[in-house]
Amino acid sequence: MNREDTINLLVKKTILIVEDDEINRTILSAILEDDYNILTATNGQEALDVLNNEINKISLILLDLIMPVMDGYTFLKIKRDNEIIKDIPLIVLTSEKSAEVECLNLGAMEFITKPFEEIDVIKVRVRHLIELYEKTVIIKQSSDDGLTNLYNKEFFMTYAKQLLTYNNEMDLIGINLLNFSILTEIIGKTMSEDLLKSVAEELKAIARQYNGIAGRAYDDDFYLLITPQNNYDFINDRINNVIQSKFTTLHTRSRLGIYPRVTLENEINISCDRVIQCAHMIHSQEQTDIKFFDENFNKMTLYHQRLITDFDKAIAEDQFVIYFQPKFDIKGEKPVVGGAEALVRWIHPELGFISPGDFIPLFEDNGLISKLDLYVFERVCRHIVDFRKVMKKVPTISVNLSRVDFYIENLSTVICDLIKKYNLQPNCINIEVTESAYVSETNHLVEKVKELQDLGFKFEIDDFGSGYSSVYTVVSMPFDVLKLDMVFMRNFNQNDKVKTVVARMIDMVKSLNGKVVAEGVETSEQYNYLKDNNCDYIQGYYLSKPIPADAFLKLIVSEEKNDN
């Protein structure tokens, strides 16, 4: 067998000929058997039996209409209603023009008239139909997202362009579920995928209702392109209803980024990215779950782009500056500096002071945060070395690590190398990790935290109480210090419940041999309450705002002198 034969054998498709007359069957087989494998059946019932056994083999059915036992019309009806075989392309063999409309209605795609026409005509019809079918299958396979059966991003954009050629303007909507990644961690992958499927079904229904299409980019990022609306609340309502019907207690909800009235003149792929970015900018505390794309958003995007572009230069030129927010030990008679949290500030040569709120979430999104965090870690080491030149006992400085940092290869080695490079010990620097990172990266993070704890580093859970706090977190997560989020102090005077919770939290953590830091302390009343309830440290404007290194040094040096 030569190579061509082998290929031919591999690619030779199978055709099922359903025809009761032997002569017709034989002639048709003779015409097609050079190019195809032929299976035959003498009536509709036999054809169903063959399909039952060879379903995956058959690329095309040639069907006679008038046959004993089960005629072609009955076969067509059964095939049309059978999910498994309905899509196999079919050519009707007929001598009656009048039968054609009925056959088309029943799912026939093409006809071969009897007596058979020129062989080449038959061959071409057969080949075309098989090719068309295979193309459709390929499109179907690659056009959906693999989970929800919505269009994937690429196909969504392709169809969006087609739709926009017929409709002057439509609304492009990006849909995202708030806190979905945390949710996945809590309910598991299977259930969260199940939720995505249900959301997708609802979006499909909305798309149908408003003459549009629905798609999914990845994870929980969805798209809708629908006829222009004046109000979009109903989309959130319908998705939230789906979520509620599945999990009544979950704190996730739908958020929308909307680009109203898009036209063909908009770059559809850019617009798709923008509506998703828009949706992602809606945070849990916001009043609205809908954000429109507008010029401000555009400016914001450009600004973010600028920050990303300037990042490397900023690191190289030491534009990032460390500020220290003292943590005061309040156990004694007078509060004394017991440590400090290192905070990063960006002094941009052209843009001036840039708020961490502007760049930290941005860098967390694109991964630059790890580079920044390690940079801060090293800068803190250098500061400690400098401080040591003028004083004996430098308080422990806490450095923030982001959840993505825990995916740095050999994180503990990298950190230990830094410590060694500056001749420091692990107890000089504590590591702060936010509660949400703890919750969202549970297993992986716990493993890494324990690794570093074994090397002598202490861990602080940052912002505890701001997100999905669970008492269980306190029990199950390795930590040395728990930092109560400033939300407790902000709501301190609302009612006595807050105070009670704070007191109990302190008790609980201390009974687990942990230390407690209260963040955001701004009044003497808060200070006194915390002191009375045995809180270890406080942080906040009441005693000190974040200060530059020289000011911090002055503060700790003066305390050391007072001590002596």
Binding site: D21, N24, T26, I27, I31, I66, K114, P115, F116
Partner: protein, 117 residues
Amino acid sequence: MTIKEFYAVINGNYEDALKRMMYDMLISKMLKKFSEGSYLTMINEGIQEKDIKKVFTGAHTLKGVAGNLSFTILFDLASELCEKTRGKDEYNNEIETDFVALKEEYNKTIQLINEIQ
């Protein structure tokens, strides 16, 4: 008698048949199958039982085969019987005249096929 001569005698269309079946060998094989088949049986039974639907089905099958074998006259006769019985519920004696003509042509064709060398 050759295949070509056979077609000339029955006023069939040899070129057409050859286009469809590609080789004399396949034509010859199909002709033999035709001669061994019993394409009149169903029509005959239909007429005996006065079942017009059965007549239609039989005529329809014969029409298809005659067409594919390019038996022009037999094809026309079968087509006529087909049209006269298509979609009908009630038996009609008139078709028996058509059947006689059809039967005559059919038998003649079979006989001539057997004379092909």
